[in-house]
Subunit: 508 residues, 2 copies
């Protein structure tokens, strides 16, 4: 597998001088080669090819589309070693994590292949004709779902494989019959190119039309804006910051022809530590919390950034256990220098907030690309007075809010914004409190967990990785699991069609 | 059934002096009584009550919700005579049409009651725990859909019953478990109040929480903006003009917490008259077209506003037959004076467009609230040079575009905007052309019909009353048929939940 630094526009490799280099956050050094920044013309050509490919895609049999997804998975597996090595350099994520993420990525591709093959996602419907109905006969009506058109996929920094070039967004868009123009994340352009070349290889092998996939890179935000603004693009999928997601959503809404933008953004993933659960095992909970908090240097959308429980002896035990566990850990290397800078800035702001106490830090000096885990504690009244305490701190930072009564816990829950997840740690005796919390939490979270930790998102039918704003731009969809395909499908009704003209999957 | 002119805020009647009156477009005279314009405080109170009701709604058993919808239908039936009489005065629509529309309205309510009862719309999913899975066990995950929260429903002018206070939007929102704050259409405030009182009566009879339904009126656009901007409102459903729909969508997108706005807007509903179908019966098609064009004074979203076919003898026969049929008709009374003014302005603009020829007008003087049917003809090149020829002319106006070849017809199809419907009139010999058109048309229309007319929208499972922008603001949804409920549902995942805490419908 050859890495050239080019943009992949359809079957063409596009090279521009004066590009940018990836950065190795572990060594704090630039990496070879230089990567081409896509021009507006590159983006335009990729989008036009995608529009043409979308027309041809309609005639691609379902089986071919499924095989295409499977062959991407195979191509990725064949190139795993090369890809993982490059991704390690570009992201500082460890080999085990990246190998696991590759398994998740190929698993997702094969899951969507199975969904395509089953035909279930197009959800065929059929209302028979009622020729004798009075006062008017009813014509025959059939319905199925078709792809919305070319999709712009924005790669996530924190999942260089599973939420990037061949990640869940690309897999679900291709499964829906939508060509993909992928915006490589500038923090891992080499990984992006290697994965992009696997997709291209599979596309050529399966006889997919040119334009089914293109990969455009660049350091500037402009590249993404050109994509989201392009008239050929019919939907946008994004995983990243609230700022980036809302900016894209605004572009989508302000186009002459507005398009839906699904952005999976931030979340502080509140964890409610209920009294009986704390009585039973506050110390173990404190240790398990730190394991979840610091996994992947806290760089998960589902990182537990807020803890809520009653003040008292059990809470002190929890905090002490968490503090010991965190202090025993070393700092970690974040994905980019920019993220580490931002993390430090937000931790500093917490340190400077009156009434917010630092409980523990992990060891290290937390400089350049490095981040020390940070655990803070405050009270409900301080939490409610400081709106910024609900802002996501991307990285291994969490805030414990102590309450003096169950009523206070309920009050806090009503002030929460939309979340990807909310967790209850509870015992049978906490059921009454859980039942009082649930109606509020259900309105605010896409996934609610009992006695687990929010990091770790299963890829399965019942998964919801979504939630009301600001967790995402549209809480009616999920970006993980089989239903992720629904973002890129729209229904079409065929009335009184002769059999010959009906699409294959809704003929008798 | 008593009509007071009040706003219905929860269980309270709110009266303000200095209101506005409905207008009888047939007699061109104001109607009693005076209607209160909702203040910002009224809207705020209605929205807060709705937010409170949404919390209580979670505990309302499915059966009670279904019965509530059925009791609204019964209450409407009991009041049909009063409601239809008032609607006739306010809209100039004939008794037969309004009685039929009432049947459609009660039918929709009962259809959604059946959907609620069946539980199918909440789409329960279940991934069993895999405790022995390596390297990590899988927890149990269950999913169902819940209501998004309070919905603002904007009444349509052209369907005072089926797309207004107790229309499809309200029925589907209530079925989803969402309280409704309804913005009465200022052109039929009396009809709105009478229907609103039926909903309130049913809500009281069924023990629904206060705030499950409120009705706010007023002449100013502000009332709608206050609603769409209110933090308690989580979704907006609108049927009306492209201008109104895009304005609401912009409000929804620009809120601090953006919300989805489903606006069903304009469409010109192109009809392709294919060569063999024309050879077989151009004259009959011309007559049938005029019947569809002038039904309800052309005031349907699915009105056939554009005809496309080959120039030649058959087309002349079609045009002549249509011209005779239209000239034999009298002008009609439109819903409002404003609509008739706008209609006249747009017809005048067509008359003034070089290369667009007037083929026929229906008789009358077309003054005040009256509109004469208008049928124009032009060529492909003129059509492609004048972007405004794709603008919807709301009312009984249509434009025939003649092409000189099948290639020209295909070229026109590629220039079409998003549509609610596209129609093919075809015979077996036209199959090749239909098959070439279909991929483009499928990308642009929510419903495609063969050998019928687009007016007449069945309420059934396979119906799609939607389409890509500008037909709607989100082509992934429909506002007619069972799937209309999907606009107001979002998925929630429950991970490792004890049975006792799970919502009823996803317990074992």
């Amino acid at each position: 597998m050859h890495m050239t630094g080019d943009c992949l526009i359809g079957w063409q490799d596009i090279h521009h001088e004066g590009g940018f280099r990836a950065f190795d956050p572990t060594r704090c050094a630039e990496l070879e080669p230089s990567f081409s920044s896509a021009t507006m013309e590159d983006v335009d050509r990729a989008c036009h090819l995608a529009a043409e490919a979308f027309v041809s895609c309609r005639l691609v049999p379902r089986e071919q589309r499924a095989v295409f997804l499977e062959m991407i998975a195979t191509a990725l597996e064949d190139a795993t070693e090369t890809i993982v090595q490059r991704a390690m350099q570009e992201t500082a994520l460890p080999q085990g994590r990246l190998t696991g993420e590759m398994g998740r990525t190929t698993g997702q591709l094969r899951m969507f292949a199975a969904i395509v093959r089953s035909g279930e996602a197009t959800d065929p419907k059929w209302d028979k004709a009622l020729p004798d109905r009075k006062p008017m006969p009813r014509p025959e009506l059939r319905q199925h779902k078709v792809g919305v058109g070319p999709v712009a996929v924005f790669c996530a920094s924190n999942f260089p494989l599973a939420f990037s070039v061949a990640g869940g967004d690309t897999a679900s868009a291709l499964a829906a019959g939508c060509p993909v123009v992928c915006r490589a994340h500038p923090a891992h352009p080499g990984t992006a190119e290697l994965v992009g070349r696997c997709i291209r290889k599979a596309a050529l092998q399966c006889g997919m039309p040119e334009g089914i996939f293109s990969l455009v890179g660049g350091e500037a935000h402009e590249v993404g804006a050109w994509l989201a603004e392009h008239s050929a693009i019919q939907s946008v999928a994004f995983t990243g910051s609230c700022q980036g997601g809302t900016a894209l959503a605004a572009i989508g809404a302000q186009r002459p022809d507005p398009i839906p933008v699904f952005a999976e953004m931030g979340s502080i993933n509140p964890v409610f530590l209920m009294p009986e659960a704390m009585k039973k095992g506050a110390a173990q909970l404190g240790e398990a919390f730190v394991t979840s908090l610091t996994a992947g240097v806290g760089q998960f959308c589902t990182n537990p950034g807020l803890l809520v429980g009653l003040d008292g002896v059990d809470m002190d035990i929890f905090a002490k256990a968490a503090a010991s566990a965190l202090a025993a850990q070393n700092e970690g290397v974040m994905l980019t220098r920019g993220m580490a800078d931002s993390y430090r800035g937000k931790v500093k702001r917490l340190m400077a907030t009156d009434g917010v106490d630092l409980v523990a830090l992990s060891s290290g000096n937390g400089e350049t690309t490095r981040a020390r885990g940070a655990f803070f504690r405050t009270t409900l009244s301080v939490f409610l007075q400081n709106r910024h305490l609900q802002d996501e701190v991307f990285g291994p930072c969490s805030l414990l809010v102590t309450c003096s009564s169950a009523e206070d816990i309920l009050s806090l829950s009503r002030h929460l914004e939309g979340q990807l997840t909310v967790t209850f740690h509870m015992e049978a005796e906490d059921m009454a409190l859980a039942q009082r919390l649930l109606p509020t939490i259900e309105r605010k979270a896409g996934r609610i967990l009992v006695n687990g930790w929010p990091t770790g998102v299963e890829v399965c039918a019942a998964m919801v990785h979504g939630g009301p704003f600001p967790a995402t731009t549209d809480g009616r969809f999920t970006s993980v699991g089989g239903d992720a395909i629904d973002r890129f499908l729209r229904p079409v009704c065929y009335q009184n069609f002769p059999a010959e003209l009906l699409p294959d999957d809704i003929r008798d």
